[in-house]
């Protein structure tokens, strides 16, 4: 039987898991969030709370700015949970983090364009201004983009997208589509 626990409530000494549980100065395990204390001694949070990006989280964002060294991203989804409107985090994809091979020969204009929706992984929480994002995996990269004429494009290969409406092909670092 799971029971509701509130912050500060002492749990048994066998409480495990770091999420929602902390150990105070006397060694007592206590809850730090409102959640359900399951029989397997871990805490389940019923409400999906949007998180700040942390290392290795998968984020989805929109390309805001592009330069020859890096692409600046406005992160709107962290680990599958959408952030509230207006509260976006700023991420940066550096030239060396775009793909895994031939990192020094990357041309950012052939990988991203402004307005592209990109899926990436956080490699580090970075400095004061932005998180460092990487797309160096087959399933990371541009998920959705529009052609120069403004028509939506579909993925053709890992480096090309094609717009069926106007027939143009454009180069992007494309994410492999997943079934989910």
């Amino acid at each position: 039987m799971s029971s509701l626990v509130l912050p500060g409530q002492p749990l048994g000494p066998s409480a495990k898991g770091s999420l929602g549980v902390y150990v105070d100065s006397n060694g007592v395990h206590r809850a730090s969030l409102i959640g359900l204390f399951k029989p397997d001694k871990s805490i389940m949070i019923p409400k999906l709370r949007p998180n700040a990006p942390s290392e290795n989280s998968i984020v989805i964002g929109t390309v805001m700015r592009l330069s020859s060294q890096q692409a600046s991203l406005s992160i709107t989804v962290v680990d599958g949970i959408a952030l509230p409107h207006g509260e976006d985090y700023v991420g940066v994809i550096r030239q060396q983090d775009v793909r895994a091979t031939e990192v020094d020969r990357v041309k950012l204009g052939d990988c991203f364009r402004g307005g592209d929706i990109v899926k990436g992984q956080v490699i580090s929480i970075g400095d004061s201004r932005s998180y460092y994002i990487s797309t160096a995996r087959a399933d990371l990269g541009v998920m959705f983009a529009t052609s120069e004429a403004g028509n939506p494009m579909e993925p053709m290969s890992w480096e090309e997208m094609y717009s069926p409406r106007d027939g143009t092909r454009e180069k992007r670092k494309v994410a492999r589509p997943t079934t989910e």
Binding site: L4, L6, P7, G8, G20, D24, P46, R49, S128, R129
Partner: protein, 266 residues
């Protein structure tokens, strides 16, 4: 007041005017037969109404009413720290605003010194309870609006409790729930949770905030003339009430959880 010039472009008021004269009514005694004006005993706090989820666009929110004091609190967290400074722990920002119609004397629309000092007090009460080390490079923003103010110390106390409830509602990791109680000292004795008239009639006030789950104190604010012995007595009186206040906060959170579950099922 004689008008110095007659302005032809405007509709002018009377040239001379005088303020109305109010008769001096006898002041209602604050204590009769050991009971205060609203029927409370000296060591009773006002009944508390606390509910979460008032402000849907915030990550967490709470509304508290004690007597005539009404306070709404919204929490937006975690958000990216807009400052240029990098920090590996989060920053807690508490902003308090008295609505212009909240007190007997109209307040300014912009935040003034009193708003900032109340905000600082609530910040001190909350800070030890929030696990900021889990929010690197993020800020936790707490916005408190005081809709009606009946007793400044009770505003601080109720605001701290509302903020703590809103933080729990937003899913921010905390060490425990913060509760807060205020007291005023007079020659009659110690009055808990004084309202504006009672504070005015007292010698000094003392506010205590803490985490009852851990048995720790997070803030103590004393104003006026209090001897050290009286201060210790006030602290004991406030501390005795912590358990009841904690029960109120817990009850509010459990009710809100039940309401959310009922909503999720429907």
């Amino acid at each position: 007041m004689a008008q110095p010039s007659f302005d032809r472009r405007r509709v002018n008021g009377p040239e001379e005017s005088f303020p109305p004269i109010f008769p001096d009514l006898p002041a209602e005694p604050l204590v009769t037969n050991g009971k205060r004006r609203d029927g409370r005993a000296l060591n009773d706090v006002r009944p508390i109404f606390l509910q979460t989820g008032l402000i849907s666009q915030a990550n967490g929110s709470a509304y508290i009413e004690t007597g005539n004091t009404k306070i709404a609190c919204a929490v937006y967290a975690p958000r990216q720290l807009k400052n240029a400074q990098y920090s590996d722990v989060g920053r807690l920002n508490v902003e308090v605003k008295f609505a212009p119609f909240s007190s007997k004397i109209r307040r300014a629309h912009l935040r003034d010194v009193e708003d900032r000092s109340i905000g600082q007090l609530v910040y001190q009460s909350l800070l030890p309870a929030v696990q900021l080390h889990l929010f690197p490079k993020s800020s936790i923003d707490v916005f408190i609006t005081i809709i009606e103010n009946d007793g400044l110390e009770s505003c601080v106390a109720s605001a701290s409790m509302a903020a703590s409830t809103a933080l729990a509602d937003a899913g921010i990791e905390m060490l425990g729930m913060v509760v807060s109680c205020c007291s005023a000292i007079n020659d009659d004795g110690i009055w808990l949770d004084p309202d504006t008239a009672e504070v005015k009639a007292s010698r000094g006030t003392l506010l205590l905030a803490g985490l009852p789950a851990l048995g720790t104190i997070t803030n103590l604010w004393q104003a006026g003339q209090i001897t050290s012995l009286d201060a210790l007595r006030c602290i004991d009186a406030c501390h005795e009430r912590f358990k009841d206040l904690h029960d109120v906060v817990i009850d509010a959170l459990m009710q809100s959880n039940r309401a959310k579950q009922a909503q999720a099922l429907s």
